[in-house]
Symmetry: C2
Subunit: 259 residues, 2 copies
């Protein structure tokens, strides 16, 4: 029997009022968008600025208490940063007992949607927003869990193929944040253009303007060895994963064209 | 004689304290990152939430007063949104006379940087942040300028190949925001991995761990006609641009490998 799909609570600040059919509160949908984004944006209120601060960061969702948890389970977001960076300093002295309020965003662009009129042009995309409170991870096992999670988000199993565990200086200079998620949402557009009936009944226009989608996906090129690389061939765990990911990205882009 | 390169002012909230060699305040660098991002993230303080609000949006930088301005000139950011959306409503009644304070972020991921140790792993990326104040565009000519700018940011010259100008209902239902930029910055990482000397002197490690970069770029696949498309072939202005962009993206990804 399929398990019930978990959803985040709908809060006024997490719910769009436009195109709500494109919205989702499903944990699995939201977590997948975040965990497949190499770079995510982290926003927080800066007490010294009228503007929210936004940082590009590497992060990954997981569960230290239940490492085998899957994407549809309750997860925390782990971020790592330099020990004296602004976000780490703010988290050390958070404005609320729950931690530093953060808004995390992650987006993939899947296609250009070309319609009869400028107003009906759009993008196919998957975008996730998470709201949560960040605290510093102080336990060494949890910190190591997060470092491994984040390293393996760059390339699966990369952690075990590097020099581990981190030494004392590395552990000291790197801080890890755990973000307990309050709520979140996703917005997804897929499929073909939609135009107004009036324009679709305009024969001259229909013969003149091409409508459809230009699918977009990312490609990982062949690995290029660095100046001090001492290993002859590109390792199989890397190449096999890269080729598989490239194939999946192309298939996914095509599938996003279906309504 | 080459013109002087304009830079944004350095404010405490716009200046990173880490890896500052990766930072740039050059207008051209920052504007180029924003204008080549199909999707950008717009953050603002929400008076009803402890968390900054973040929206994925389509936007483009330009100059209504001087349409021939290039990327290194002073430009404004134009965003468009549904007339009753939250960001438009907040801009209609802004918290400051200058407008609604917004933080705009745009990022490209150019590669996975694989080093000897987890801590030295990184991404090659280009990330831009802009801080500015949004006001509603009320003049019809400026609104049309912005709509054309945004439409042509999806595909160059697309505007003239669609049904234009927008009709009264379209003009009424779409609002355009002009963001006057206060300051901004870019962070860029390119090139190869960097490891600590101690690890590079470890012969066993050097023979075991492959180091280098996996370049990443986006690809636009072949255009797929929509269900009501009435034009036989994909138009040449679209195909020529798509093929050229794909080539440039691959070349750019390779060039980012150089130090």
């Amino acid at each position: 029997m399929p398990r019930q799909e978990l959803e985040y609570p709908r809060e006024p600040f997490s719910t769009g009022n436009r195109y709500s059919s494109r919205g989702s509160h499903a944990l699995e949908t939201i977590h997948r968008i975040v965990n497949t984004s190499p770079l995510i944006h982290v926003a927080f209120n800066d007490p010294n600025s009228p503007f929210p601060a936004v940082l590009p960061m590497i992060g990954q969702m997981g569960s230290f208490d239940r490492p085998s948890a899957d994407l549809g389970d309750v997860l925390e977001l782990y971020l790592h940063g330099y020990v004296s960076s602004r976000i780490i300093n703010l988290t050390r002295n958070p404005p609320t007992p729950e931690g530093l309020p953060l808004t995390i965003s992650a987006s993939h662009v899947d296609g250009l949607v070309l319609a009869l009129t400028p107003n009906s042009h759009s993008l196919n995309y998957r975008s996730a927003i998470l709201f949560g409170h960040a605290t510093l991870v102080t336990s060494v096992p949890e910190k190591l869990y997060a470092m491994e999670l984040i390293t393996n988000s760059i390339v699966p199993s990369r952690w075990e193929h590097t020099r581990v565990p981190p030494n004392a200086a590395e552990m000291q200079s790197t801080s890890v944040l755990r973000v307990k998620i309050a709520t979140g949402s996703a917005k997804i557009r897929s499929g073909m253009p939609h135009d107004e009936r009036g324009d679709m009944e305009d024969e001259e226009l229909m013969k003149r303007v091409w409508t459809g989608v230009v699918p977009i996906h990312t490609v990982m090129g062949g690995p290029v060895a660095g100046p001090y690389n001492g290993v002859g061939d590109v390792p199989e765990y890397l190449e096999r994963w890269r080729i598989e990911e490239n194939k999946e990205a192309e298939v996914f882009a095509r599938e996003q064209l279906k309504e």
